[in-house]
């Protein structure tokens, strides 16, 4: 048997053993047995001394080939075994991905707060400031400066909690506007503000009445404010609240602090204007009151009505939330049932 034949035989035997080795230790044995210093290939190569000068390099080359082949097959097999071991481990580690995730603790903003924040952001974007004021107000700011003198019938429309004859729980957030208008320096530019906040009325709490609720009122005073600007602002506001597909309709109304006064209706989101129980078959939902600021209100705040004019609007986040989400009882907003609050968890 020539050396080449011997090497060939060794190679085949080695390859055979590599292919059946199914553990790393076995593979190592094969490596030592065939490629080690005392292994048969080394042994065979020792026999090269007896070869002729011409044959020696050929056999040498062949031997190296065999060694390289076995080495690379060894590596391949090693890699295979490692992969198989890993796969086995991973298979053992598999989980039931349909088990529920670990509950994370996160709080929610109150649904009324969400509406207020949304509208604040909208109006901040249009250059308005957000202004707060006292919840315990003077009659003067809550009523008189808003063109509601002592015997005005519209005072009956909003029965009020008084603390003394002249001090009351504000029944609207408009006194904030009266205060701001009074202080505003018009030489420094227009006044654009919204005033969100809590208000109080002497109402017996039931499904649709609450002695406490929220309002957001807006006011713009400048030199060239038109009723078209009011309409545009209300349309923008309605779109923020309801979305683009909704129409806005203005109707005449009456508020002592505006003239002309309007109420703004939006297409009923429930029936898209076809008429349903939510909109009492009208196809419209009343969402805001608004108007051009009454000259008396401007005059009382010391604003020159020949130069300046403006508009005001107001809406109730509670009422809006009731309409929008079908909340059937206004008390839900103030009883803070966690199961109620946590439903409003949509962000963005």
């Amino acid at each position: 048997m020539s050396l080449q034949e011997k090497l060939k035989e060794l190679e085949e035997k080695g390859l055979q053993e590599i292919s059946v080795a199914n553990e790393l230790s076995k593979l190592n044995e094969v490596r030592v047995n065939f490629l080690g210093k005392k292994g048969p290939i080394t042994e065979v190569l020792r026999g090269m001394r007896d070869l002729s000068k011409e044959e020696r390099p050929k056999v040498g080359e062949f031997a190296n080939k065999v060694r390289d082949n076995l080495t690379s097959k060894l590596e391949e097999r090693k890699e295979e075994l490692a992969q198989a071991a890993l796969n086995k481990k991973l298979a053992e580690e598999a989980v039931d991905v349909t088990l529920p995730g670990t509950p994370m603790k996160q709080g929610q903003p109150h649904v009324i707060q969400q509406i207020i924040d949304n509208l604040e952001d909208l109006f901040l974007g249009m250059g308005y400031q957000v202004v707060e004021g006292p919840e315990v107000e003077l009659d003067r700011y809550n009523f008189e400066m808003l063109n509601l003198p002592k015997d005005h019938p519209a005072r009956d429309m909003q029965d009020t909690f008084y603390i003394t004859d002249e001090v009351l729980m504000r029944s609207q957030t408009s006194p904030v506007q009266a205060r701001t208008m009074e202080k505003h320096d018009f030489s420094k530019g227009p006044l654009k503000m919204i005033s969100p906040g809590v208000v109080y009325r002497r109402d017996t709490d039931d499904a649709t009445h609450s002695h406490q609720f929220h309002q957001i009122e807006g006011l713009v005073i400048d030199k060239n404010i038109t009723m078209g600007d009011l309409k545009g602002t209300l349309v923008t506001l309605a779109k923020e609240l309801f979305g683009d597909r909704f129409e806005v309709r203005l109707r005449p109304s009456y508020f002592p602090f505006t003239e002309p006064s309007v109420e703004a209706d939006v297409t009923c989101f429930n029936c898209m204007g076809k008429g349903c129980s939510v909109c009492k078959s009208t196809g419209w939902i009343e969402v805001l009151g608004a108007g051009m600021v009454h000259p008396n209100v401007l005059k009382m705040a010391g604003v020159d009505t020949d130069v300046y004019g403006g508009f005001a609007f107001g809406l109730g986040p509670d009422r809006f939330a009731m309409l929008r989400y079908g909340v059937d009882d206004i008390r839900n907003f103030y009883l803070n049932d966690v199961r109620f609050l946590s439903q409003f968890n949509k962000r963005g």
Partner: protein, 809 residues
């Protein structure tokens, strides 16, 4: 006001659907509550004539009626009404008919006797109880002779139910819309028509020779209480039901027919908006009538038979000093028109609206009359209204109108003229109307205009029937609404730009809420008004309570001085509904009285947690909330809002409502800014809640506290070395005391000390506890040498041993 489409059609050319008219009214004038078709879904209901009525053999109240319903043969109907009799024209719901609420009537047997329909009461075909004439309130309706109905006629047509009623909701400024007159003019303006409003006058043949002034006088001292006060009289009247057409007209308007006098006053009130009152003249003969405040201690029986204690300022009509009516609100029993009345006097007046409103409100007598007096009366149609009333009463009661009107007061109003410039109209409305267009609008409204062509201004004269219009802005509204709000342009304010930005305070409040939510607390909104006890709970210091003057209930009597009690109410509400794990926070105001008119309003932020911090799940255990969870929330929050000062927590053993051993004040640079702790078990029991931990912080103080600036510290690239130490120390020694000693010891490279274990109990000497800390050392410029660290560390140990008598374990 309930507007009959048919009645309106007398004055206007209405060629549009009632619902379209309603839409126009709503978009141009006043809100419309509903448009109702009175015969909606009614079917096969006809007039029947009872030919024969016999008693049912097997019933003590049923009758067997043979009824002519216009068919060849009469039909038999069993009827239980007490007032059924032969020879009546009645309402018959035939077999297969539909009555109120779409109820179907079918042939049936009643106690064995076949019945081929039903004889109906007015209520059964949809009339509300309060409009049905008294005679027919508890039985079937019987058509009067003057209805001229025939068997088989449609009942809906006979009663005028084939009509639509537009129910408007009139705003306080539009009192003119409380009459057919006002509505006719308004709708004429909307439709660009002229209203054809008919006024009926007393005819010569209706007049008697007797003069009212011979029998009665009126003297009014205070002119302002009744700017107009007039009387007319009709003698020799026969009180009877009013004509059928008038009765059906009133019923459609929601008013119950009474008799031919009262019905006329109500009809005139609907037509002109002028409330009238009729008195029995014979009760007043020879007396002097006056209008004045009631004065002290007056009791008065109104015609609803209620004896009322009048307020001194309530206006009354008096006859020789004796009250006969609450002016404009309700008449009195004594002078009421009865079936025996022979001569009547009708009062047409205008009273002080504010006084009427207050009286109506105080006595809860919101009558149709009071409602109109409150909102104003048309001075220009009062005479027509009174005259037409006298004529109609005379006509219906076969009486004669006595000559003369007795006048107590007759203030005249002149039409107001207001000047407005075209440019002003267009500037404020954002329109580009021409002067022709503006004139056309005023024309439609019936306002006359004088155009000053050079100045482009209008002098607009407003008729007295629109007493709500006084100033330029009122005219702008008229132009805008007739022009149509739909036609206004849609623009946004232009002009100098302004910057929309939250203030620092507002930003911090928003951030506070976000932090709380991130820490797992859900925002609550509780009531600002609470009980006196709850308002004062948990509050330390001398704060004045603010109370509502006239509370509705004890539950809402005082302004809150803390937020926690509201949150505990919330937890109780949840617990009562078996929600055991609750973590809420609230940001809102508390109110401290301070001797000023308005109390101090301070922003607070508070939280309350009960149950488990962690919801139980398949892979997590419940984690009942502890003091340290709440403290962790407060610590994290204060870290996030970056207060610059030193925050410390000092045990608070005597805050009412709180656990004496598990409560701490939160201090910022030594100033108390709030507290944290466990609700006292007794208090928890009062609220009916389980173990609950809370915090409440003065957000106003936090807002105004100095803040750290956002900055960057270089992160060392050299390795950190840690050293652990466990010390045995007296139980009374606090963690803060240990930390103070550690921090007092000068150590160059110490960057962090962390408590990682606290142990008391087994294997430890009584009264002792074990605390374990990890020290972390690191240098920013170099790798630390073990020896250097060991030196520093042993200095700390030495100090702890010396100062706190600790033993290193």
């Amino acid at each position: 006001m309930k507007l009959s489409y048919k009645w309106l059609s007398k004055y206007l050319e209405l060629d549009l659907e009632p619902k379209d008219l309603a839409e126009k009214i709503e978009r141009t004038a006043v809100e419309v509550d509903s448009v109702t078709r009175l015969d909606y879904k009614l079917k096969k209901i006809v007039v029947g004539h009872t030919l024969e009525v016999t008693e049912h053999p097997d019933s003590d109240h049923l009758h067997i009626c043979q009824v002519d319903v216009g068919e060849e043969e009469p039909i038999q109907i069993v009827c239980g009404a007490p007032n059924i009799a032969a020879d009546q024209d009645v309402i018959v719901a035939l077999h297969g008919s539909r009555i109120k609420d779409n109820v179907k009537i079918k042939r049936s047997k009643m106690r064995g006797v076949p019945s081929n329909g039903m004889i109906c009461a007015l209520q059964e075909i949809g009339y509300p109880d309060n409009v049905v004439p008294k005679d027919y309130a508890d039985g079937i309706y019987v058509f009067p002779a003057d209805s001229h109905v025939k068997p088989g006629d449609s009942v809906m047509e006979a009663l005028g139910m084939d009509d639509d009623v537009i129910d408007t909701s009139v705003t306080p400024n539009r009192g003119d819309m409380f009459s057919m007159n006002g509505n006719a003019h308004e709708i004429a303006a909307i439709l660009d028509q002229k209203a054809n409003f008919e006024v009926l006058k007393v005819q010569d043949e209706q007049k008697s020779a007797d003069t009212l002034a011979d029998q009665i006088k009126v003297e009014i001292d205070e002119q302002d209480v009744a700017p107009v006060y007039k009387l007319m009289a009709i003698e020799n009247v026969k009180i009877a039901p009013s004509p059928f057409w008038l009765q059906t007209t009133l019923m459609k308007a929601g008013i119950r027919p009474i008799n031919n006098v009262v019905d006329v006053t109500n009809y005139i009130m609907l037509k002109y908006g002028q409330p009238l009152h009729a008195y029995d003249l014979d009760q007043l003969k020879g007396q002097t009538i006056s209008v004045a405040p009631a004065g002290e201690n007056v009791k008065f029986t109104t015609l609803d038979d209620e004896k009322r204690d009048l307020r001194p300022e309530d206006l009354v009509i008096t006859a020789d000093g004796t009250p006969i009516a609450m002016a404009g609100v309700m008449g009195g029993m004594a002078t009421e028109v009865s079936d025996q009345t022979q001569n009547i006097v009708i009062e047409a007046a205008i009273f002080d609206p504010i006084k009427i409103r207050k009286t109506a409100r105080y006595h809860n007598l919101h009558s149709e009359a009071a409602m109109r007096f409150e909102r104003g009366i048309d001075y220009s149609s009062l005479d027509d209204a009174l005259n037409e009333a006298a004529s109609l009463v005379a006509d219906f009661s076969q009486g004669k109108v006595m000559s003369g009107v007795v006048v107590g007061n007759d203030t005249k109003l002149n039409p107001e003229s207001i000047t407005i410039a075209l440019a002003r109209i267009n500037k404020i409305l954002g329109t580009s109307l021409t002067s022709e267009e503006v004139v056309a609008i005023f024309d439609r409204l019936g306002f006359s205009t004088e155009l000053d062509a050079t100045k482009q201004t209008f002098k607009v004269t407003v008729p007295v029937r629109r007493w709500d219009i006084h100033i330029e802005a009122d005219l702008l509204e008229e132009v805008a609404r007739i022009f149509g709000y739909d036609n206004l342009p849609v623009t946004l304010p232009t002009g100098d730009p302004t910057i929309g930005q939250l203030t620092t305070e507002q930003k911090l409040m928003r951030a506070s809420r976000t932090v709380m939510e991130g820490l797992g607390l859900t925002q609550a909104m509780s009531y600002g008004l609470t009980t006196i006890a709850k308002s004062q709970q948990f509050v330390k210091g001398d704060h004045e309570l603010v109370k509502v003057d006239w509370p509705m209930t004890k539950d809402r009597e005082a302004l809150r001085m803390n937020l926690i009690s509201g949150l505990l109410d919330d937890i109780a509400y949840n617990k009562a509904r078996s929600v055991e794990n609750v973590a809420l926070y609230e940001q809102g105001r508390v109110f401290y009285g301070n001797g000023q008119a308005q109390p101090e309003e301070i922003e607070h932020i508070a939280g309350a947690i009960t149950g488990s911090m962690q919801a139980k799940s398949w892979n997590e255990k419940e984690k009942p909330v502890t003091f340290f969870d709440v403290k962790g929330i407060v610590e994290q929050y204060l870290k996030n809002v970056a207060v610059a000062g030193e925050v410390s927590y000092v045990a608070d053993h005597d805050r009412q409502g709180m656990h004496p051993g598990r409560t701490a004040d939160v201090l910022l640079d030594g100033d108390v800014i709030g507290f944290i702790g466990q609700i006292h078990p007794t208090t928890a029991e009062e609220f009916k809640i389980k173990e609950t931990y809370v915090f409440e912080l003065n957000l106003t103080k936090i807002i105004h506290a100095e803040k750290k600036l956002q900055h960057y510290d270089v992160i060392s690239k050299y390795p950190a070395i840690t050293r652990d130490i466990a010390i045995l120390v007296n139980k009374e020694v606090s963690n803060t005391e240990v930390l103070n000693v550690i921090n007092e010891t000068k150590q160059k490279n110490l960057i962090k000390v962390e408590l990682f274990d606290v142990y008391e109990g087994k294997n430890l000497e009584k009264g002792m506890k074990s605390l374990a800390y990890q020290f972390t050392y690191q240098d920013t410029n170099d790798t630390l040498q073990e020896d250097a660290i060991n030196d520093e560390f042993s200095k700390v140990i030495k100090n702890l041993e010396e100062k706190l008598n600790v033993t290193v374990r």
